[in-house]
């Protein structure tokens, strides 16, 4: 499939090998996933809503939830260790990336009131504050 996007204003020739621009299969889910509902996709998944406990999102690529993620999420389901999970409120029942499975600690309830991102760093799943564009200028996410 021919690339159908165009970028400009990045400086000379950047558009040609722009690492930040990923042209992959992505679906947009414009609803909240409730208990018992599940999504599987062979690419990235963006959810415009919440993922409630008992719901499951599985993607071969990244998962982005524009709301609260409280269910089970699996990014990089095909084994991609670079896949990330991002949510405005990241409180999953269980979080899986590639072959890593994690769950929140038993007696701890930390409720972060900011967007967070989970990814594999040095072989372990880490969750960190998602820095917005201005703050991560020049850094690779």
């Amino acid at each position: 499939m021919a690339n159908s996007y165009s970028v400009s204003g990045f400086g000379q020739d950047m558009a040609a090998d722009l690492d930040d621009l990923v042209d992959e299969k992505t679906i947009l889910v414009q609803r909240t996933l409730r208990s018992g509902q599940s999504i599987y996709y062979d690419g990235n998944v963006v959810i415009l809503g919440d993922v409630n406990p008992g719901a499951e999102v599985t993607a071969k690529g990244n998962v982005i939830v524009m709301g609260s993620l409280r269910g089970v999420v699996h990014a990089g389901a095909g084994g991609d260790e670079n896949a990330v999970v991002m949510a405005f409120h990241l409180q999953p029942t269980q979080l899986r990336i590639a072959n890593h499975i994690t769950r929140p600690p038993d007696n701890e309830t930390v409720e972060a009131d900011y967007p967070e991102m989970a990814r594999i760093k040095g072989g372990v799943v880490t969750i960190e504050f998602f820095q917005t564009a201005g703050e991560r200028q020049g850094k690779n996410i």
Partner: protein, 264 residues
Amino acid sequence: MGEVIVVTSGKGGVGKTTSTANMGTGLAAMGYKVALIDTDIGLRNLDVVLGLENRIVFDIVDVVNGNCRLRQALIKDKRFDGLHLLPAAQTKDKTAVTPDQMRDLCAELKNEFDYVIIDCPAGIEQGFRNAIAGAEKAVVVTTPEVSAVRDADRIIGLLEAAELREPKLIINRLRPKMVKQGDMMGIDDIIDILAVDLLGIIPEDEMIVITTNRGEAVVLDQHSRSGQAYRNIVRRILGEEVPIINLDESTGFFKKIKKIIGLG
């Protein structure tokens, strides 16, 4: 060789899952090896009540479809090494498992565990037929309400038709005060209709709500009456003769004094 017990009721919300969790935890606390099976596919709850929801990777549907081994799907309890849960699937429906598969599964678990307790879904359709398929004994849970007792009666009939004879009865959420005032069915009224042996009476108790929401089991609570009631049930399952606790017993200060001086 273990024993396979199904916990059922017909009506929803009468305490099947709570009873399953507490009987299982109680038996495990006494050192027995227990497997709990949640057969409520699509509306699973037992994992939540036990506080094990976040440990689920494989479920009963994965096991019967051969996606994983039974051992991989069994989740070990937080507190007791002897207690294991086989969770239901949440994103499938009841037809994902057949009664024959359940029979095989129960036979396999029976070899390894002292007690296999099956949490049955509400209703009398396939979920119910799956749940009772591999069972050898049945526990029927009801509340002192006409509708719940009616459904329990229907269930006892269906259990007998399936050769599960002499089910035992748990009466849940009893309020002795209301029974005294004649506003609630009493134990005798219910036994009169159902004509089955009583396994235990659980009084209405807010500790049940508190422990359930925390993913704990009230059977481990030494102070609550419902915990005591479940401990008694566990002992009766083990074959002990335990008298039914007298729920009329008043705990009021003046009543106690009256009792002491012989007026009560």
